[in-house]
């Protein structure tokens, strides 16, 4: 009976509590010993993989990022939490007094507010619908020669092309 692949893997990974049975089997079984050697050579190859050097240090970039999102000191976090807790307690304590004071304040009902809003909207709507544009002064007819117009259009097109070309060139870079 040979050792399974799983047993050989666990043996090499030191995940087996009692190794004596395995040791004695491996000493007497050439086939299992050969399979173990093959697995060991794979382990050795993986171990032989050299570390690769970084071409540049990450420290400066990370410090910059870290500085842009600073961690709050613990005392500040605790103070803020304490403040929030105190505010909550104060709110709970003050609630009965506030409830007593509320009826004394005269506030319009929801229906009154709606009616007021509707009337304001109607006024505004009437203003918009009845609005008349003032009479604009009539402009004298433009007398542009065809040549000037063509030159102006050509100049504008040239500027547009040059401008877009510059923008695209920057993007390609």
């Amino acid at each position: 009976m040979h050792l399974t692949d799983e047993q050989l893997n666990e043996y090499l990974d030191n995940e087996i509590a009692d190794r004596t049975l395995f040791d004695s089997h491996l000493a007497s079984c050439g086939e299992c010993a050969a399979r173990l050697t093959a697995l060991q050579s794979l382990f050795a190859e993986l171990d032989s993989l050299p570390e690769v050097e970084l071409t540049h240090s990450l420290a400066s970039q990370i410090t910059l990022h870290a500085a842009s999102s600073p961690q709050l000191p613990r005392w500040l976090t605790l103070t803020a939490t304490l403040q929030a807790a105190l505010a909550l307690i104060a709110l709970v304590l003050a609630a009965p007094f506030v409830m007593n004071l509320l009826p004394a304040i005269e506030t319009p009902s929801f229906t009154e507010i709606l009616i007021q809003l509707q009337s304001q909207w109607l006024t505004l709507f009437n203003l918009i619908t009845n609005y008349q544009l003032p009479n604009l002064p009539t402009l004298p007819p433009l007398q542009i020669p065809t040549l000037t117009l063509s030159l102006a259009l050509a100049g504008a097109s040239l500027l547009w092309l040059v401008g877009n070309g510059l923008l695209l060139r920057r993007q390609i870079k």
Binding site: E10, F43, L46, D47, V52, A59, Q61, T63, S69
Partner: protein, 178 residues
């Protein structure tokens, strides 16, 4: 004057000392980068993920247990980030073995070693994401099966099956006759 311990640097960094955190990054950046590079097999991505690992570590410094060691912890953070990255990209299909082969500065004597390293990296990169991370945690971070299961939040049986299958695939790739 002795160099400050990692613990001293972490305590100072928690108080907002940027230089202290920078020193921690300098100490572990190569380790962390190599974790990412072994899993991702692409230098640019590995650098980005290494950077993200340190950012994550910085934001978790308050919760970091000072009784633990910083190095193994930050390397595990890196492995987890790489796994999430791969899963988000769904790059489980076999990759081109020459994905990030570095052809520069090759002294003649080292060519063979470098070629073999590239073959190993290529074989690792061809594994499914979970297999890669389990191999990383077992072989390079020397975690036990139980620790890997706890780190990746997967059952122990999955750790074993991923690891053993990964090794089988690696052996087939690396020891296949040319």
């Amino acid at each position: 004057m002795t160099a400050p311990t990692d613990r001293d640097l972490i305590v100072r960094a928690r108080r907002g000392d940027g230089d202290a955190f920078s020193e921690l990054v300098t100490r572990y950046q190569t380790n962390v980068f190599n974790v990412c590079y072994r899993i991702l097999h692409e230098r640019g991505e590995a650098e980005d993920l290494a950077q993200e690992t340190f950012m994550r570590a910085y934001h978790r410094l308050e919760q970091f247990d000072l009784e633990r060691e910083f190095g193994p912890w930050v390397r595990r953070v890196a492995a987890n980030l790489c796994l999430n990255h791969l899963e988000s990209q769904k790059v489980n299909a076999p990759l081109d073995e020459e994905r990030d082969a570095d052809e520069s500065q090759r002294p003649e004597k080292q060519v063979e070693v470098r070629e073999r390293s590239e073959q190993i990296r290529g074989a690792l990169a061809s594994l499914p994401a979970h297999y890669r991370v389990v191999v990383e945690l077992r072989h390079y971070q020397e975690l036990s099966y139980d620790e890997i299961a706890s780190e990746l939040k997967i059952p122990l049986s999955d750790v074993k099956s991923h690891l053993f299958r990964a090794r089988k695939l690696l052996a087939e790739k690396l020891h296949a006759p040319d």
